[in-house]
Subunit: 346 residues, 2 copies
DNA sequence: TTGTAGGCGTTATCAA
DNA sequence: TTGATAACGCCTACAA
């Protein structure tokens, strides 16, 4: 039971391979009766065209785009990916994807294989390879970068203004009247965390509030447990009436820690997160946060990629902006001053 | 600036294409100096082997496996996919994936393209195509089905015992002393929902408690909002001291609804969900649920697929079992003296 | 409208 | 060890 090829079909149908190809792709006109006969034989033999050979012969793309993400899990990546894939699929393109787990080696490997396999384009989410190597590996393949800026690819970086987000989040708390605002940040090796922290600092500076390193704490990773732990530490170190966590998971973890210590949110402490994960609507209280336009960004990436593939001059991309999503976890401080045990101030 | 092929390298290096191929794949021994020369030219010309042509010539697989999921988003799918991909990547295989959005047409389309593109295997999560068509489309490609049972593919179905899960969840509530236990189920067109409901009913039956249709409510979908809405309806219809939601999102939604009506959980109403999403640990109170072994299942699927690809007789798969994860949302009903009262033993 | 021939980039076969 | 040469399965001239 060998594979049936276009030749088998041709022979069986009493025509030439070329003719079969024509009825297959509608490349040229074929006499109806011949065409019908061919179709019939195709069905009989259960013939399936070999897409590989097809691409090879045509020299064109393989109908696939390569996607490399840090992780396949996590609401953020999933949503972006989902939006991205929906756009792609509508154009008949498929996604060949792999995760790097933050390993440059994995990334390199995947990138190599994908380009060799003839992906028509590349979508890289927060790649960790150094600029130069990345550019080399990419070669001339149309590429969109997400959450990573490389000057040479300036036109193709889909980013979000994390600094602005951090600024707006902090400003929200300031506007509510908070003055001692803590910040729990994901580990600062991650660019987004640094940027959000910067925004936080800027907002404070603008308000004339001095940076207090006792109120800034760098967590071990970016999940809820670290948020909890960081908050525990925070509670021992300083006093604060509000808390900015650089992502929602940590914010939710912080909420847990505060509740465990019998603080109520937002009465005793206000919290704001970042990302607007669906989880924000399910905690008690619901979490104020910075909305992250995941779907839009995934869609944008896809469209930009399609433009590049079609040879059009792609739009110039400007950073997306996140905006405030105020829910229950943020409110004005209870009294005039911070209600949380004022170690330093008292 | 055309593509540089193996011929270009050969010419430039003063050897034959075959030799270049040899140094490339280590297929046979090549004199060190020749080999070195070839390597040098490869670097100079920036030659990249064409994986398509490679597969074509070798007649072997393309190094890819096709994956079709209902959705790319959602913690459940992401985690399974992530675990699956990690196993695969370790073997140098890549994933070409697409989502069907529950559309048979999309599924058909993707399946066709993937097999044509020469995927070596298929991983289908809860496909919606009818058995017969699915089998036909799959052909002889090694396949693993997740959360779908097809007799012909009995050995390759990775499933979970949803019925058992529903039973255990309900039994947990019964054991706590609850008698009026409501059930919010995802729409019953989804098999998993029907099965979990069955488990619920069985537990009640076993306890001699009659089915009360006022306490069973079918939500519009399976997200938290429907859980909230369903609970709202429930509160108007019947009285209950415990609630089994057939998934965590709905459970979390139910929790919100109850809290909005000033019921406290678990004092007034106990809640148990299903899936053990990370969200369960972040709600207040934390959610009791049935643990769903997502990673294990994803990993299992990958391993089974690898076995098939290697021609080994794959292990026979038995359904995974979910187990109870008791957290804060379930407790004995108010006024109950002894929390757990096993009828038989007392 | 149809068939023939040559090529896509690589590997396998078989002499040399 | 090497190098021709024939596949691999399909497509696109070009010719008929």
């Amino acid at each position: 039971m060998k594979k049936v090829t276009i030749h088998d079909v041709a022979k069986q149908a009493g025509v030439s391979p070329a003719t079969v190809s024509r009825v297959l792709n509608g490349t040229a006109k074929v006499k109806p009766d011949k065409a019908e006969q061919v179709q019939k034989v195709i069905a009989e033999l259960g013939y399936r065209p070999n897409a590989l050979a097809h691409s090879l012969a045509q020299g064109k793309g393989s109908g696939t785009v390569g996607v490399i993400v840090r992780h396949l899990y996590g609401e953020f990546f999933s949503l972006v990916l989902s939006a991205f894939e929906n756009e792609l699929r509508a154009k008949g393109l498929h996604m060949i994807c792999s995760s790097s787990n933050g390993s440059a080696q994995e990334e390199r490997q995947s990138l190599k294989i994908m380009t060799q396999r003839g992906v028509e384009a590349l979508f890289l989410m927060a790649p960790c390879l150094p600029d130069a190597e990345l550019l080399e590996l990419i070669g001339t393949t149309p590429t969109v970068l997400m959450n990573r800026y490389i000057p040479e690819l300036a036109r193709s970086c889909v980013t979000i203004d994390n600094r602005l987000g951090g600024y707006l989040a902090t400003k929200h708390l300031l506007d509510l009247g908070h003055e001692r605002i803590a910040c729990i940040t994901a580990y600062l090796t991650r660019q987004f965390a640094r940027q959000r922290l910067e925004g936080y600092l800027e907002a404070l500076r603008e308000k004339g509030i001095a940076r207090d390193d006792l109120l800034i704490i760098e967590a071990d990773d970016l999940y809820s447990e670290s948020g909890t732990q960081a908050t525990e530490r925070l509670l021992k170190l300083g006093s604060f009436s509000a808390l900015f966590a650089t992502n929602d998971l940590m914010a939710a973890g912080a909420l847990k820690a505060l509740q465990a210590h019998a603080y109520s949110v937002p009465e005793d402490v206000s919290i704001i997160g970042f990302d607007d994960l669906s989880l924000c609507q399910l905690t008690t209280p619901t979490l104020s946060t910075m909305h992250y336009p995941t779907e839009e960004m995934g869609k944008c990436a896809a469209q930009h990629l399609l433009q590049q593939m079609e040879g059009k001059a792609p739009d110039t991309l400007s950073p997306f902006k996140s905006y405030l999503k105020i829910r229950e976890s943020s409110a004005a401080p209870k009294g005039q001053t911070s209600p949380v045990k004022p170690l330093v101030e008292s």
